[in-house]
C-alpha cells in the first residue's frame, strides 16, 4: 500500500473532522431534546461538539499555513465572498423574524450555510486560476 504524504493526509483528516463535527452536533442536539434543560448533564451534552469544533479550526489553521501564495489568495477570495454572503443571509432572516414571520433557525444552520457557500466559493475561485 503506497504511503500517503502529509499533504495528502490533511484533506482526509479535515473531512473526518468535518464529519465528526456534524455527527457530534446531531447527536448532541438529539440527546438535548430528550433531556431536562438547565441541568449539569444537559450542559455537558450541549458542549460535546466543542472539542471537535476546536480540532476543526486547528486543522484549518494548519492547512492555511501550508498553502502557497496562490492557494492563500484562493482561500482569501472564497472567504471574502462566503462570509458577507452568509452574514447578509443571517441579517435578512433576523429582519424577517422582526417582522413577525417566525420559522426555525439555529446557529448550526449558519455553520452549515457557511461551509457550503465557502466550498462553492473555493471551487469558483480555484477555477479562475485554472
Amino acid at each position: 500500500m503506497p504511503k500517503l504524504s502529509t499533504r495528502a493526509w490533511m484533506p482526509i483528516l479535515s473531512a473526518g473532522i468535518g464529519l465528526s463535527l456534524f455527527a457530534s452536533s446531531f447527536v448532541s442536539g438529539y440527546l438535548l431534546r430528550h433531556m431536562t434543560p438547565g441541568t449539569t448533564l444537559s450542559l455537558i451534552v450541549a458542549l460535546v461538539p466543542l472539542p471537535v469544533f476546536i480540532a476543526n479550526f486547528a486543522i484549518a489553521f494548519v492547512l492555511a499555513r501550508r498553502c502557497d501564495e496562490m492557494q492563500r489568495r484562493i482561500q482569501f477570495e472564497a472567504l471574502a465572498f462566503a462570509y458577507p454572503f452568509v452574514m447578509l443571509g443571517c441579517l435578512t432572516i433576523f429582519m424577517i423574524h422582526k417582522a413577525g414571520f417566525r420559522f426555525s433557525f439555529d446557529l448550526i444552520d449558519v455553520f452549515l450555510a457557511m461551509t457550503l457557500v465557502y466550498a462553492g466559493s473555493v471551487f469558483v475561485a480555484r477555477s479562475r486560476y485554472q
Binding site: 502557497d68 501564495e69 496562490m70 492557494q71 489568495r73 480555484r126 479562475r128 486560476y129 485554472q130
Partner: protein, 72 residues
C-alpha cells in the same frame, strides 16, 4: 504579465511538478503562472529568476496596459 517559464522549464527538461518542488509551491500555481492566470509575488518571481540564473526581467515581461486587471 507574460513570462518565459514554460520555455525555461522545458529547457531544463523539467515537468511542472519538478519546478513546483524546486520552488516549494503547488503544481497548480506553476500552471497558473505559466498560463498567465496568476502573477507571482515579487519574492516568488525573484526565486524563479534565481533558480534559472536570470534577472527577473529576463523571465517576466510586463504587458502593455489595457485597463483594469483582476490579477495582482
Amino acid at each position: 504579465m507574460n513570462n518565459r517559464l514554460v520555455e525555461l522549464r522545458e529547457g531544463r527538461g523539467w515537468g511542472q511538478t519538478d519546478l513546483a518542488r524546486e520552488l516549494a509551491v503547488s503544481r497548480q500555481t506553476i500552471h497558473a503562472i505559466e498560463t498567465g492566470k496568476y502573477d507571482p509575488s515579487l519574492p516568488l518571481a525573484f526565486k524563479i529568476a534565481a533558480l534559472f540564473g536570470l534577472a527577473i526581467e529576463d523571465v517576466f515581461v510586463p504587458e502593455a496596459p489595457k485597463g483594469r486587471s483582476r490579477r495582482g
